[in-house]
């Protein structure tokens, strides 16, 4: 799709479902009273720190600030005007807590959390080498909807084996993400879940932390042998397939390759418990070719049965008494809420892992464990503190909310909501890939070849229909569009069961969590700084010239300023010019206009063009780009 043509409305339909969010399930006996107690305890520690630093607490944030902050923070987008009204007209004294609880149980929250996890875990819709990544994304969404405890989520990813596309097996995506690079995978695992910068020790004793290369290899011994298995034993005779395929045209051969990747990729191995030191070994503790036995570099050694050590590794990582597991997620949760972690950088704990306020970090870590690793509870506790409800600051004092730039997903989703109203719940079947697997896992070479040919034909038909659709959308006849879209959708099922391509039917604007992961290079979200998912937390909020150009010239005019979008219709329906101005501010900046701003705008009336300019200005306002 030509990169220069990215009108927001003609974008991506991704066949992902959002299961109905279950009612908030409270775990481990942490009822509202307990949650409130925790918030109070954390507040005491926060206030003690401020007192010690001699720093006055900022005033309580205004309702408008709290409203916008909570929505962007928990729902990943701004509220519609109607959604905002719910809070603003709630007169109960505990309405802020109610807002927090309500947001945490909403589908919007799931979408936002998915973005956060996808960034951390480096989720991709298509992994390297044509491995399917969608099952992993779908699995992650299912876990979030079920509020699976964090320790069980991590354990599932660390121990998943079996076919990548088998129903329910999406957790294999974590291992497949680094297929063929088990040592790099270990380094990333240590950083992502234990805040330990182990990577240097992969090749030599760590230069400034205490980890040795021997410790790295001993840890790698737990998972040794667990990796991507591409065996096509299920086909009966892989060589036979190769011969049959040799004389087929390139598209068919590529399709066969794609199919075998999808159908036969699996994670296998249970962990050998031993690993051979490499030929370039120069360090203490062994010689090249020696065998190293599984051992952990800190904490309590897990019980192992030899040759099934991968599970032992997972148990060690996720143990409640692992000194770093709970502390790291505690640190991440704190940073998500306040903008600065209690240890920075967020996932490099160094030797002492205490951070700037040891008592506070320990308390949050204790909360994590006490909640049974229920992150929804942790997030509710953090946001029900007085600390969270204060006016923001611009520096990086960890116990004060920091005014920070919105992420690419938050900007995109905020614009999406102006176009679509509330864009969650655009459900479609999520099981295309796993259904396909279930149907086709027992093919022989001939059947696979036939299937490949069918798919190649379907794709070529698809290209044709897309061209016709494009034509019809641009020059008409418009009456043809529905029929073409239906045809395209039907072809999609045949042509692309393992992969999710853009240009599906509908044309609705999707939230970031429903687009390909990540968005393709050149897509507005990438320009806005979305992570390329090549490293954990690789998103950027630094301002750039292409971003500025995007908002000045591209996105806003093409999508948000159209007369038929949700916000425009609400503005149109305003009974007066003054009310219209009010509504525009409510939608975009989630507050009332100040008297000075009203002065700048003047009384109107404005024609449509002038209105578009007002909306344009509010979206390009720097205030829009920041968490209040």
């Amino acid at each position: 799709m030509p990169l220069r043509v990215w009108p927001v409305a003609v974008l991506v339909v991704v066949l992902i479902s959002w299961p109905e969010a279950p009612p908030v399930a409270l775990r481990s006996g942490l009822d509202v009273a307990a949650i409130t107690q925790w918030s109070t305890r954390l507040d005491a520690l926060v206030d003690a720190r401020l007192a010690r630093l001699g720093r006055a607490a900022p005033p309580v944030a205004s309702d408008d600030v709290f409203l916008r902050r909570a929505w962007l923070d928990l729902a990943g987008r701004g509220p519609t005007r109607a959604e905002a009204e719910v809070f603003l007209t709630d007169s109960a004294p505990q309405r802020r807590a109610r807002l927090i609880d309500g947001l945490v149980s909403s589908p919007a929250y799931l979408s936002r959390q998915f973005n956060w996890w996808a960034d951390l875990l480096r989720v991709q819709s298509r992994l390297q080498d044509r491995l399917p990544g969608q099952p992993w994304a779908v699995w992650l969404k299912e876990q979030l909807a079920a509020n699976t405890p964090y320790d069980r989520l991590v354990t599932a990813m660390l121990t998943a084996t079996g076919p990548a596309l088998a129903p329910g097996n999406g957790a294999t995506g974590w291992r497949l993400r680094d297929a063929g690079m088990p040592l790099d995978h270990l380094a990333i695992t240590m950083r992502t879940f234990l805040g330990t910068d182990f990577g240097c020790a992969q090749c030599h004793d760590h230069p400034y932390e205490k980890w040795t290369r021997l410790e790295f290899y001993q840890l790698a011994a737990y998972d040794h042998g667990v990796d991507l298995n591409k065996s096509t034993k299920g086909l009966g005779n892989g060589k036979q397939l190769k011969e049959k395929v040799a004389n087929e045209p390139p598209e068919v051969r590529n399709m066969v390759r794609e199919l075998t990747r999808g159908l036969y990729s699996s994670v296998s191995g249970n962990g050998a418990g031993k690993i051979t030191l490499p030929v370039d070994w120069k360090q203490d503790g062994g010689a090249p070719g020696d065998s190293a036995t599984a051992a952990v570099p800190f904490g309590t050694s897990p019980a192992t049965t030899s040759k099934h050590t991968a599970a032992a590794f997972a148990a060690w990582v996720t143990a409640p008494d692992n000194p770093r597991f709970a502390r790291l997620i505690a640190n991440r949760m704190w940073q998500q809420a306040f903008g600065t972690g209690l240890i920075e950088p967020i996932d490099r704990f160094g030797d002492d892992a205490q951070g700037s306020e040891p008592a506070l970090l320990s308390a949050v870590a204790e909360l994590v464990v006490a909640s049974g690793f229920d992150l929804q509870v942790v997030q509710r506790v953090l946001r029900r503190t007085n600390a969270y409800g204060r006016a923001a600051v611009d520096d990086s004092e960890p116990v004060l909310p920091r005014r920070r730039a919105l992420t690419a997903e938050q900007v995109w989703d905020s614009l999406a909501v102006m176009v679509e109203g509330a864009p969650e719940g655009q459900a479609a079947t999520s099981t295309a890939a796993t259904d396909f697997y279930a149907q086709h896992q027992k093919l022989d070479a001939d059947e696979l070849l036939d299937l490949a040919k069918t798919m190649v034909d379907a794709r070529s038909d698809q290209r044709q229909v897309r061209k016709q659709l494009d034509q019809a959308r641009r020059k008409g006849p418009k009456a043809d569009i529905p029929a073409l879209e239906t045809r395209l959708a039907k072809l999609e099922a045949t042509a692309d069961p393992l992969d999710l391509r853009p240009d599906g039917p509908g044309g609705a604007v999707r939230r970031a969590s429903d687009l390909p992961q990540p968005a393709p290079p050149g897509h507005p979200m990438r320009v806005l700084g979305q992570s390329d998912r090549l490293l954990p937390d690789n998103g950027s909020t630094a301002p750039t010239v292409p971003q500025a150009l995007l908002l000045l010239n591209g996105l806003v005019d093409n999508a948000v300023l159209r007369a038929d979008v949700a916000m425009a219709k609400d503005l149109d329906a305003a009974p007066s010019e003054a009310e219209r101005v009010r509504r525009a501010f409510r939608w975009i900046l989630v507050r009332e206009p100040t008297a000075a701003e009203l002065g700048v705008l003047g009384p109107g009336p404005r024609d449509r063009r002038a209105w578009a300019d007002v909306v344009w200005a509010l979206i390009n306002h720097t205030e829009f780009r920041f968490l209040p």
Partner: protein
């Protein structure tokens, strides 16, 4: 989202949060906490990447009379005793202005890894992203403040970019050179007057709003830089319609060719490094047709670029390098195609004082291995760095504190520097 590690680096405040990261240096590098400061240099880089693995035998390293040639002939070049493939006659006629390396070697035979290695000089890892050569240039070279970034990438969506160097050295991507810079022109319903009115309204609203914190000020600066760019002559660098039709014709109509033309324009406007990519070289099948077709595009665009640079007196300050991630198998596969072959392949470069007519190294008589003077990819990067005046003694550190230099442990090819 908090200050990400990349933001930290970009804002140059590694110690902002009281972290005292101790640097650790390899033995032969200069110890100390200092990062290299940008240095004024005069040379620019245009790197032309032949994506997919350009067959060396069918282009720069023919072996006339050998079975490995397939249907392709060789022809004499302007340099005595040196032949090129008959598919590149125009380049052959200009070989006296170029230096050829026929003994390149790599260990990476897969596209993603090979491409990454060629672009960054480092092996691809799961735990870090290395900067590409252009990002190194952007980092190490003092650039005159203007509206254009130091580094632009044309036609390559999957480019590794600036890696751990983050936004500060990130290249500006241009997808289709014939379409200019993405989002740089106003929506068709917005004329200059209306655009002006919008900016006035925006400025007025912001001026009565809360005073901007540093972060918001940075965002406003990016916006005003963008506005300046839109009104500046520098934006014209991206507009190929300003070139004479004859010039555009001379390069050829393929996007790559127009990308080469844009690269020349960008360098004229102060951009220090431009990458342009030509894909389609991965000829496992349909080899002869496709390599002929690719060479036709290349043999028109590259000579046009070299001539154009020389005519404008830019050749002395512009180094043009043509490379690929690996070569292709001399022995044909069952489909008369060639497969990946990193063991030996070729690179050609021109300009910026590179000695013309020089041939470095050789492959054996069937182009199957290096026969003389092996040049690794890091060696190539070290050579380019030397030609461009980039410092290699003081390392740049990743946010994790690891030290890196451009060209890693490569040794510059002395004949070329």
């Amino acid at each position: 989202m908090s200050i990400s590690r990349r933001d930290l680096l970009a804002l140059g405040c590694r110690s902002a949060l009281g972290l005292g990261l101790t640097a650790w240096f390899a033995d032969d590098l200069v110890a100390g906490d200092a990062e290299p400061s940008p240095v004024a240099t005069t040379t620019n880089l245009i790197y032309l990447h032949m994506a997919g693995g350009m067959s060396h035998l069918d282009t720069l390293d023919p072996k006339p009379g050998q079975d490995v040639m397939g249907g392709v002939q060789a022809l004499a070049s302007k340099v005595d005793g040196v032949q090129l493939s008959a598919l590149l006659p125009e380049l052959a006629a200009r070989l006296d202005r170029c230096a050829l390396i026929r003994s390149m070697t790599s260990t990476q035979g897969a596209h993603e890894q090979g491409d990454y290695f060629m672009r960054t000089g480092y092996q691809m890892r799961g735990t870090i992203r290395h900067p590409t050569l252009g990002a190194w240039i952007s980092r190490l070279v003092a650039t005159t403040p203007g509206n254009l970034p130091a580094y632009v990438v044309i036609g390559d969506g999957a480019h590794p970019g600036s890696g751990f160097m983050g936004q500060a050295q990130a290249p500006l991507p241009v997808d289709d050179p014939t379409a200019g810079l993405q989002y740089s022109s106003r929506n068709k319903n917005v004329d200059a007057a209306r655009a002006g009115h919008r900016i006035d309204l925006l400025t007025a609203l912001e001026s009565v709003g809360a005073p901007a914190a540093t972060a918001a000020a940075a965002m406003a600066t990016a916006r005003s830089d963008a506005l300046k760019l839109m009104d500046s002559k520098d934006l014209l660098a991206f507009d190929l319609k300003l070139e004479k039709e004859a010039t555009r014709e001379r390069y050829g109509e393929d996007r790559f060719a127009q990308g080469c033309l844009m690269a020349r324009r960008l360098v004229e406007h102060g951009v220090r490094a431009v990458d342009v990519t030509l894909g389609g070289w991965d000829t496992h099948d349909d080899h002869l047709d496709r390599v002929t077709d690719r060479c036709a595009i290349l043999d028109r665009a590259l000579p046009a670029l070299l001539d154009d640079l020389r005519e404008r007196g830019m050749d002395k300050t512009t180094l043009v390098v043509l490379g690929s991630e690996f070569g292709r198998t001399p022995v044909f596969n069952v489909r008369q195609g060639r497969d990946h072959f990193p063991k030996v392949f070729s690179v050609v470069m021109s300009g910026a004082g590179v000695p013309g007519g020089m041939v470095v190294g050789a492959s054996d008589e069937r182009a199957m291995t290096v026969a003389a003077r092996q040049v690794t990819i890091p060696d190539l990067h070290a050579t380019i760095a030397a030609r461009l005046g980039l410092a290699r003694t003081i390392p740049v550190h990743s946010p994790e504190g690891r030290p890196f230099v451009v060209g890693d442990k490569g040794v510059a090819v002395s004949e070329l520097v």
